[in-house]
Symmetry: C2
């Protein structure tokens, strides 16, 4: 068996997330279906991050094993030829035996996009959250920076989350802005870390928007983290502004070309 590592981009609009669901179309499903004719049998694909329903990916990573000795570049072409247009394989490479896109992942980067203008561009309606009111970016920046470091993020975990520990390390949590051609600006949140809890990024963004609106103090993050109560944080921001940007792995791992 040869292990493969594939990097994917997808428009999550029409998917119930990455992970296979019994009653709705998932990215995992279309990917596994695309692999069947290549492998001549069932293939199970593991994704680095689950991504919720409607969430997009610029650099999701998936791993799978094939008995077929196909060349990675050929595999990329064969997959893109049969996959729906809203899922694209950007890269395929051989991976070491034992490589698992989920468990071998060292860190991930997510991005959240807010279209801050009077009227949202029709080209962004599926790809950014629209906020027409004035936003205090400085206050959002201040609050976001307070999330960097190792913290217990239980406050930002969806109710019903069930993990061993809710302590995670966030290595970067920052906002950037870009002026828009037609007026207004695009606000871009980037958060990088070793792991993320269920709905964590969207719950953080929903809370930071309350800071931007003056409904919550930019200095209140340490106290909010300490509360460990989901009810103390803001609402879950809508999925269509969120992107899984990148997943990083140890580059030291030897790659087998057997």
């Amino acid at each position: 068996m040869q292990v493969f590592k594939a990097t994917l981009a997808y428009d999550g609009t029409d998917y119930a997330g990455f992970q296979r669901q019994s009653n709705a179309r998932s990215v995992q499903q279309v990917l596994e279906e695309a692999l069947v004719p290549i492998e001549g049998g069932e293939v199970t694909v593991t994704g680095a991050g689950r991504t919720d329903s409607g969430v997009h990916a610029l650099g999701q990573v998936a791993s799978f094993s094939l008995t077929s000795a196909i060349d990675p570049s050929e595999l990329l072409g064969a997959l893109n030829a049969v996959l729906p247009e809203d899922v694209r394989v950007l890269n395929v490479e051989h991976a070491a035996q034992g490589f698992n896109a989920r468990f071998s992942a060292r860190s991930k980067v997510y991005r959240y996009r807010i279209f801050n203008a009077r009227v949202i561009s029709p080209f962004e309606r599926r790809y950014a959250l629209h906020i027409s009111r004035s936003i205090n970016l400085q206050q959002m920046k201040q609050a976001a920076a307070a999330l960097e470091g190792e913290h217990d993020f239980a406050t930002f975990q969806a109710a019903g989350g069930n993990v061993r520990t809710t302590v995670r390390t966030v290595t970067r949590s920052e906002w950037h802005e870009r002026p828009l051609e037609g007026g207004g600006r695009l606000l871009i949140y980037e958060i990088a870390g070793t792991g993320f809890l269920k709905y964590m990024v969207r719950n953080i963004v929903g809370t930071l928007i309350e800071v931007a609106d003056g409904r919550r103090s930019p200095g209140s993050m340490p106290e909010l983290l300490a509360s460990r109560r989901r009810g103390s944080a803001g609402p879950t921001a809508q999925p269509h502004g969120l992107y899984l940007v990148r997943v990083d792995y140890d580059t030291a791992a030897p790659v087998s070309f057997s």
Copy 2:
């Protein structure tokens, strides 16, 4: 009657162009339908440019007259509340009596986007032409520059075009590039002029792509223009890369607030 000037953006993917068609949905139709409840009767909308089926707009301009004394800002809100999400009104203002979005237009800017990378981003599949092969941008720039000035553009007019004169003035014809996050680059063509013939921009782009591929010399544009034969030029580039960016009017015209 009060004359209004509205600036629109639309995702042209699901429209048979701006102009009303008997058998397909057009932007004009959805705009006129949105105006009916506001006016309490039929309204005819005139667009600055027709835009072909599948072509997008960032700043199309439309004019229409209403008997209703509605405030422009209120009208903007009322229209966006009922229009489909892929058509947005970006601005509404009063215009002078006699203002006509089409006949009062002094110049227009169009843009054509090419996604030049191995695999197209799923987020750009409806919004840029995908070319995976290597492109000689310098040669496209040289050929594009030769189109600036007053020329007879009959070579680039769709067969069956029926206008008084095919002489037009192009004030700008240039390519820009932007690196893409995932590798590759976005090639952006901008052309500004006093008027455009049917399919002219797409026929120019189809021809410039042949220059980029080395199938046509970058110095061949003067001769090609002189031929006045559509058959000598390249194919019509696909509509989904094209945008009507802006329409300019004389700012000196007095605006009536009657």
